[in-house]
Amino acid sequence: MNRRVLLIEDEPNITEAIRFLLSREGWQVDTHADGSDAVQVITAAAPNLLILDVMLPGKSGMDILKEVRALDGMQDLPVLMLTARGQARDRDMAEKAGVSRFMTKPFSNAEVLTAVRDLHAQASRT
């Protein structure tokens, strides 16, 4: 299985750190910082794994995820969602929208790497 990850995050220094970490693990990392055209970017990039921030300019990560899940062939795309809001109802909303893993900021690098490895392994088995 290919290892292409699309990171949609509007915080440039978080983007840079995650890009560095995942590149070092052998991932090809594409990045995008805007929510408004994120669905088109995801469709065009067809990544093996999506890392999605919730609070994005233009459109929220929740709405993006719902739209993506409604597209053909996107139901099984592993999605790791990053958010500063970790309340139970935010998790519920994310689960209803079809998230694979939910992670609250400030996360550790090890947590991100573990989540990405787990999601990739699960997707590879199916």
């Binding site: 915080e11 220094n13 978080i14 840079e16 750190a17 995650i18 560095f20 970490l21 609070m55 990053l82 500063a84 809001r85 609250t104 900021k105 400030p106 996360f107 550790s108 690098n109 991100v112």
Partner: protein, 418 residues
Amino acid sequence: MISGFRQADLARKVGISASYLNLIEHNRRRIGGKLLVDIATELQVEPSMLTEGAEAALIAALGEAAAEAGPAGAETDRVDEFAGRFPGWAEIVARQHRRITTLERTVVTLSDRLTHDPLLAASLHELLSTAAAIRSTASILAEPGDLEPEWRDRFHRNLNQDAERLAESSKALVGYLDETDSSSADRRGMPLEQVEAFVAARGHHFPEIETTGDVPSEVLQELESGAARAVGADILALYAADVRAMPLRDVLKALEALGLDPLGLARRFEVDLPAVFRRLATLPEGALAHEVGLVQCDASGSVVFRKAIPGFALPRHGESCPLWPLFTALNRPLVPIRRRVSQLGRSAAEFDCLAVAWPQEVPGFDVDPVYHSIMLILPVPSDEQDRADALPVGSSCRVCPRRSCVARREPSILSEEF
């Protein structure tokens, strides 16, 4: 209660300040002992007449306290006896109940703020995102082994930027919390309650507005929170508009000629009834033979302004008796309604309630109007009480003993019938 007397004169005669007397008159200070007798002597009335209204309010507050406490076993059928035998303790219970209610509302307000305040949410998001960036970057830099110089320099630069951002965002957040912590005023109640307390402390009469027909900006400075100032500004702006339409001198002359005739006053000044009701509630001491009460609600039935009157219990927070003419008027907009009502069990006093509902804006085609309703509460002289057609009403269901009421929302904690 002290019609015919200037408040200041009476205060001087009994040796207290006018402002303290004002607090007593509005049931914000309990009266008793020598002071009660002195005031009653000056007013040439029985001392019991002066305490009746306060006692009804106290009993209502105790009833609310028992209702909130749930099935704790308070002897609600002996609440009158408790208030009568231990007035000091009863007052403490009532005050504690009010304090608890205020604190509970503060918790709700703060919780709402954490959940819904967009500025706070954005500020916290900024802090957490910056912290995430710093944590991630610092963690990479702290890893053992050599990092390529280009990456290392970039991460050092990022770390420095994020540290500065964190400092700025933290300061901004503290500044925001400090500023809105004038909503520490929220700890003393909701904005509307602060405004009601402020207006009541001024006896519902503002000479500076009466003189100029305008609201001097310094008047509102007594209100601490921005939200309370905003609510107060709207209420006083309406007061000023009413003053311009019905100057005090003209109103007093019209009252001499017409008596307390709201419809006649509306015709005389070419204003609507709500304006007359509001104006009557802002007249100075002694202008009317009796003090009047006023309640206004919006289309949802939420009370948006209250001027309390002794003997007519107004619940502190929503959930008023649905039988009040205030709400009847909402069902028949623009139709003035007059009802004789009696409230509160065995110490029932009768009041004439005049109510009308009116649209907030000029109705438009295909637009549903939004109504407000207002009710003027007039005390009925003792020799005119006990009218057979008086409509029994309560304060709120939980402290109302009328079990068979068709409008009942929830069971009463009281066991008596009227």
